[in-house]
Amino acid sequence: MSKQTISTFNPSRRAVLAGLAASPLALAAGSRLAFAQPTSGTLSIAVLDWAETGIKPVFAAYEAARPGVKIEYSLLPGDYQGIRQTLLSRRLANKLPDITYLADILATQLANAEVTADMRPFLTSGGPIGMTSLAKPFLDQYLVTSGPNKDGIFGLPIGADTVVLYYNKKHFDDAGIPYPTDDWTFEKQIEVATALTQKNGNTTTRYGLAASVPWHATYVPGIEAFGDTLLDENNMYKLQTEAAIKVFTMYWDQVKAGVIASTPQQTQLGGGFQAFGAGTVSMLQSVRALTPLVRSVTTDDWDVALVPTINGVRKTGMGSIAQSITTSGQANNKDLCYDYLNWFYSEDGGMKILAASYGTVPPVEALYESPIWTALPGPPYDNRVFAESIQYGAMNPTSIPADVQAVVDTELAKAEEAVTLNNVPVADALKAAEAVINEAMARVLASGG
């Protein structure tokens, strides 16, 4: 295994040779033999920077399982805009890796840009991982629903990730407050968060809860809990509905009160999980993927709980990063890519190692209860929370183009500032945001986006 920088990245000359060498064999022996373990070759994989620590043992294990096969990995930025920028640049430079990580919001755009290849040939190739192997809700995130690649699957989820509530047990113990339970409501959560909040004058020194309100995993479940949807039938945002106004109001009221740390406040604290680790936040709404980082920075004892109900309904944000064979990998190094992915999702392969790093709930329904991740020593102790949350999952609509999501993120952050800093009424702030977002949506849809 070796790490590559983009400047020294050699797309896949050896991989091409390996692919060429393997192809006559595959053609001659039929498709089943194509799944024979490759004995040599180089596989290039681009991974998200924050996932590097967790994935390196996976690469090492694959190389150990396939002597003669070498993995060269490179890093992608951790945010979806950075991922897209890097992959599109590498596409233009003909330097795509064989396999790349990606985020759900990019599935359609990267498919249209011919960065990622349709994964259906892999899933129907007769290998151990098929169309029904991976959990449908997470696989569907990467199902392209419109445009030239309609019905294609352009990513395989790496985790079955839902938003759960991380809580600092010491803070609860010190305050004599019982730990969160499954019957918690949003109101109860705020009551406890208020009790855990500490202030020095007007400045909050410890926030009861860190929740990024302009993050879709926060507002989409809330809107659904109030019985509405984020988009109308024409794919336009509905931010002036009663449900939307209620959801944003109930969160932003607490940001104004200094009980909930907003995104900029979390940034000031070094980031959500760092703030949780440093004890400047008592509860944090986040995902399993961040568990290794939370474990690495948190000294107090902690655990996880289900997110509370809103309006009597439990809904939680869900999603997953994914990996996909690129068009380059599909053309030049297909067999090695297939072999790696089949090995990756096996219970004794990469998924076991990745799960052991606390970084993922396997996106394979058969492994939801598997000890490969549920039997890991705590914290977190209550691992059933991660699996149980999946049934309450509310996903950001996959029909939102990535270019529009960028505008949504910006405008909702601005709306939050307008409400919390300038006391603009929530309805007015959302109205202004909706106008800009829907203008962007109309523009992108009109250009075929």
């Binding site: 900029p264 000031q268 500032e417 800093l421 300038n422």
Partner: protein, 305 residues
């Protein structure tokens, strides 16, 4: 007070080093790099500004539509004003402070060597590291400014989350970063002043203020113009890192300078044509301002060509 006559330098010629070959040899490498990394991207950007392109599909020619859109774009207009505001908050203090620090250092006051090292500090710290450092300094809970104010019972604002204070807070960082270059240039200019001029002024009864105003300041005026242009260019083009890391253009677009908006357009929204059009407008504005501050002059007879 009569200024001593300045001797016109005699230009010595050397047939061998004056040949076009030597000129090309020395200028060539820089010219190649400058063309590759400056001229070609500028021309490319100019061309791109006439297209609608998102890096994925085929670029679509739209003529000057992107430029027309700028006039209708409230965020673009806001960004221009925010940039002008940052320039105002950044350029004037940079020039004045650079000059004063350089004068101070030039007097060789006790301990000036330590000071001389300290003022260079911002140059050796990367922009992003500086931004992270200053984000901590401005932290309303544990930052040194908040701690200092709390000693006097004052609760300061949340500097980077306050629409009034965010831009001044950014400009302070930018002035801090731009100071070293200004001081170096001023120091060089101060050391070029003929000591006889200062002695003559003293003999004529000029005090420190009069010397500063009537002798030193006029002599460093050409350098001031250079610093103005360099600071202006630096603030407009190099403030992106600071603004992006510290505020991302917020709160409420109060630090949404053009560089941040152009980045958002190009890399978040993938509107490369429109971003290029806005970059072109920025380029034109900077060029005009640079020409105003430092107009091209015809070489006089005594100037080397």
């Amino acid at each position: 007070m009569a200024a001593p006559p300045r001797a016109t330098p005699r230009r010595r010629t050397n047939r061998r080093t004056d040949s076009p070959f030597w000129a090309a040899l020395f200028v060539g490498p820089n010219l190649v790099l400058f063309t590759t990394f400056m001229i070609i991207p500028i021309v490319w950007g100019l061309g791109l500004s006439l297209f609608d392109w998102n890096l994925i599909g085929e670029p679509r020619f739209v003529g000057f539509a992107n430029y027309v859109d700028i006039l209708k774009d409230a965020r673009a207009v806001n960004s221009v004003w925010k940039t002008v505001y940052l320039v105002f908050l950044g350029v004037v203090p940079t020039v004045i402070l650079s000059f004063l620090i350089a004068v101070l250092i030039n007097t060789n006051f006790p301990g000036y060597t330590v000071f001389r090292t300290m003022y260079l500090l911002p140059i050796v710290i990367s922009l992003v590291a500086s931004a992270v450092l200053w984000r901590f300094i401005y932290d309303p809970r544990v930052g040194p400014i908040a701690q200092l104010l709390s000693l006097f019972g004052v609760s300061g604002p949340n500097w980077l989350q306050d629409t009034t204070w965010a831009m001044p807070a950014l400009s302070l960082v930018i002035v801090w970063l731009r100071l070293p270059l200004g001081v170096i240039l001023y120091l060089a200019a101060l050391q070029q002043i003929n000591p006889q001029l200062l002695e003559a002024a003293e003999i004529d009864g000029a005090g420190p203020w009069a010397k500063l105003r009537h002798v030193i300041w006029p002599n460093v005026m050409p350098v001031t113009l250079l610093i103005l242009v360099l600071t202006l260019r630096g603030i407009i083009f190099d403030s992106f890192d600071i603004a992006f890391v510290m505020t991302k253009g917020g709160p409420l677009n109060s630090t949404d300078i053009l560089a941040v908006y152009i980045y958002d357009l190009a890399f978040a929204q993938l509107r490369l044509g429109y971003a290029s059009a806005l970059s072109t407008v920025l380029f034109v504005i900077v060029t005009i301002l640079a020409l105003i501050f430092n107009p091209p002059r015809r070489p006089s007879n005594g100037d080397p060509v």
